[in-house]
Symmetry: D2
Subunit: 223 residues, 4 copies
C-alpha cells in the first residue's frame, strides 16, 4: 500500500520512531482485545478534542494553499471532518456510554495539546508544507495502522469498529488523496530534487517531531 512517495522517504528515515508509533502497545492491546475499556475511553475523549484542532489545521491549509486545487482538497477534508467525522465520533461515544456532557467537558491533556498546537503553530508560522508535513504521520499513520491490523477481529465490538474505520475503503481512500496532495505540494514547491533543498531538512525534522508527539498521544491514553 503506497500512500505517498515523499512519505515513504520520510518513513524510511525515521523507521525506528515510526514503528514505535504504528506498533504501539495501545494498538497491540486493542487488536488482541487486552486493552482496558477505560483506556479506550480516555483515547476517544481526547480524540474528540483533537478532531476539533485537526479540523482547524485543515482550515488553515485552505488559506496556505497555493492554488484552487489544493484549496479544494483541504476544504473537502474540513467538510468531511466537521460535518461527518465529528458527528460520527459523538454518536459512537454516546453508544459506548460516554454522554455528550462528559465528552464536551473533557479537559484536554498536555500530550494532546502538544501535538495539535505544534501542528497549528507550525502552520501559522510557516507555509503550506510546514503545516501539512506534521499532519502526515497522523493521516497516513492511521491508514497504515488500519491496513496492518485489518485481519484482527477482537471480540470487543468497539475495537472491531475502530479497526474497520481505519482499514476501511473510505479512510484508505482519503489517506491516499492526502498522500497525493503531499507529493504534489512538495514537487510543485521544491522541484524534483526536493531532497537536496534546505527546506527538506526542516520537513524531515517536523515529520520526526510529529511522530514523537503521536507516540505520546498513545501513551496518554494508557496513563
Amino acid at each position: 500500500m503506497i500512500y505517498s512517495n515523499v512519505f515513504l522517504l520520510l518513513k524510511k528515515k525515521y523507521l525506528y520512531e515510526w514503528k514505535q508509533y504504528t506498533q504501539h502497545t495501545f494498538v497491540k492491546k486493542l487488536i488482541s482485545n487486552r486493552l482496558l475499556e477505560e483506556k479506550f475511553f480516555n483515547y476517544l475523549k481526547q480524540d474528540y478534542l483533537f478532531l476539533i484542532q485537526f479540523s482547524k489545521a485543515w482550515s488553515l491549509a485552505v488559506i496556505k494553499s497555493d492554488n484552487l486545487k489544493e484549496m479544494k482538497i483541504c476544504a473537502n477534508t474540513v467538510n468531511g471532518l466537521i460535518n461527518f467525522e465529528m458527528d460520527l465520533h459523538i454518536k459512537l461515544c454516546k453508544e459506548y456510554g460516554i454522554s455528550n456532557k462528559e465528552l464536551f467537558n473533557t479537559e484536554e491533556k498536555n500530550k494532546n495539546i502538544a501535538y495539535s498546537r505544534y501542528v497549528l503553530e507550525s502552520g501559522y508560522s510557516g507555509d503550506f508544507l510546514d503545516l501539512i508535513t506534521p499532519l502526515i504521520p497522523c493521516v497516513i499513520g492511521y491508514a497504515e495502522i488500519g491496513n496492518n491490523i485489518k485481519n484482527y477481529k477482537p471480540s470487543n465490538l468497539m475495537y472491531k469498529t475502530w479497526i474497520q474505520t481505519y482499514s476501511g475503503e473510505e479512510y484508505q481512500k482519503i489517506s491516499k488523496s492526502v498522500g497525493r496532495l503531499f507529493d504534489n505540494a512538495v514537487l510543485n514547491r521544491l522541484g524534483k530534487n526536493f531532497y537536496r533543498t534546505r527546506k527538506w531538512k526542516s520537513i524531515q525534522k517536523k515529520f520526526k517531531t510529529a511522530i514523537i508527539l503521536e507516540i505520546d498521544f498513545w501513551e496518554m491514553a494508557l496513563e
Copy 2:
C-alpha cells in the same frame, strides 16, 4: 428584510456610506442596462480573484470559531464557495466570453487587494469578530442590493442573471444565516449590552472601513 439586528445598528450609524455603497453608480447603471460590458467584465474578473481570498477568510473563521456550531456554519460557507460558487463563476465567465486563461491570469488590482487583505489581516491579528465584522458589508450588502433591485429586468442577460443571483432565494438564505451567525457571535462574546463595550467601538470602525473599501471595489470596476 432583516438580516441581522447587529448589522441594522451598524448600517444606521453609517447610513451615508452604506447608501454610497449599495446605491453605487455601478449598480444603477447595471439595473438600467447602461453599464458598459467592459466594466462588467472588469468586475467579474476581479470578483473571481476576490472569491479566492473570500474563501480563505471564511476558512480562517473556522479556526477563529469558539464552538462547533460556529465552525460548522463557516465550514459550510467555505464548502459552498469553493465547490459551487467558484465553479459557477468560472462557468459564467466562459459563457460571457472570458476564457479560463484570461480569467486565471487577471492581475489583482489595488482596490481589490485593499479590501480582501484588510479582512484577512484583521482576522489574523484579531479574533472572530474582527474577522466577521468586515465581511458583513460584503455578504449582507449584496443581499440588500439584490433585494433592492429584484424587480429590475435589464435586457442584457448577464445583468439579469446577476440580479437574480443576489435577489434569489438561495443567496438571501445564506445572508440571513450569516446575519444570525453575526448576531449570536456578538451576543455570546460581548453580552446583551454589547453596544457599551470597548470592543463595539472597534467593530464599528471596522464595519465602516469595510464599507468604504467596498465602495472602492465598485469604483475599480468603472475605471
Copy 3:
C-alpha cells in the same frame, strides 16, 4: 509582593495547581542543593529553546497590541530577550560546560513544545489577551518563585546564580511591568466588571492550562 491584581484573582482560583508549579520538587531540590547537575543542565538546554519561542510570543504580542503603549512594552520585552537574555543564557551555559554546539543541537522535548506552542497558537488564533494570559504564569510565576526562595544560598554556584537572577531587582521589575500590562489590557478590553464577562471564563481556562503545562516543564527537567 503584588505583581498584578488580575493575576492575583487567577492565582487564588487555581491555588492548588499554582503551588504544584511554584513549589515543585525541581525548585525544592535546587534551593537545598540536592538537584542533580544533570537535571539542571536538562533544564538549561530546554530553557534555551523555550526562550526562542518565548521571544516569538512577545513579538506576536506587538502585532496583537491595541495601542502604541502596549506595542512599546512588548517590543522592549522582545528586545531584552533577544539582545540580552539569550546571550546571557548562552554565556552561562558555556561557563557551566555546555558548549554552544551542544546547546544549539538540543532537541526540543515534547513537554517544552507543549507549552510554547500552546501559547503561540492561542495568540495566533485569538486576541492580545489570549496570548498574554498563558504567558503570565511563566513571567510572574518565576518572579514569585524567585521571591519565595531569595534567602536560600545553595553551595552550588549555578543554583545560587539562578536564584539571584529571578529574585533580583531587574527581573522583579520586569515582572511588575508585565503585570501592569496585563491588568491594563484586561481593564481596557473587558472593563471594570471583567470577571462577569464571557471572555473571563476563557481567560481563566487558559491561565489554568498554562500552569499545568509549566508543571510539566519542571517534570521534564527531572526525567
Copy 4:
C-alpha cells in the same frame, strides 16, 4: 550604491514600475519645492499610521525567522521603529503644526490600508520571504530615492529634512543591513540557483505588487 543583489535583479525586471515609484511626481515636486504643504501633511499623517503597521510587519518577521541571527536583525528593526522613528515622527509632526490629537485621529486611507495589509497578510499566510519581499520596495526604495535626491536643497525646511533623513548615513546603513538580510534569506532558503525555483516566481510577483501599491501611496498623498 548596492543595497542587495537580489533586490537588483528584481528592480531590473520591473524597472518601468520602479521608476514610476521612485521618480514619482510627489518626489519631483518635493525636491523642487513645488509640493503643496497640505499634500506633504497628508503624507506625514498617513505615514504615521503606516509606521504602526510597518512595525507590526517587522515583529511578524521575528516570528517567521529561521534562526537567531534573523530574529536579531528584525527585532532591532522593531526596536528602532517603535522606540525612535515613531517618536521622531510624532515630534516632527508637532513642529510642523500637526497636533498629536490630529495625528492620532487621522483616518487610514484605502491606499494606505492596501499596502500595509497586503504585506501583513502575505506574511501571515506565507513564510519569511513572503513577508520580507513586499517590504523591500519600501525600505530600499526610500534609500534609493534619498540617494537620488541628496543634492537637492529645497528652501522648505520640512522637505530638506525629509531628504536628509532618507539620504542620511543612518537610514542608508539600515537599508543596506535589510538588503543583506534579504540576500541571505533568499540564498539560505532557495540556494544559489534561487532564480530557477518556483518560489522565485511568487517573490517576483509580490515585489511587483508592492511597487504598484507604493505608487498608489504617493498618489494618495497628492489627492
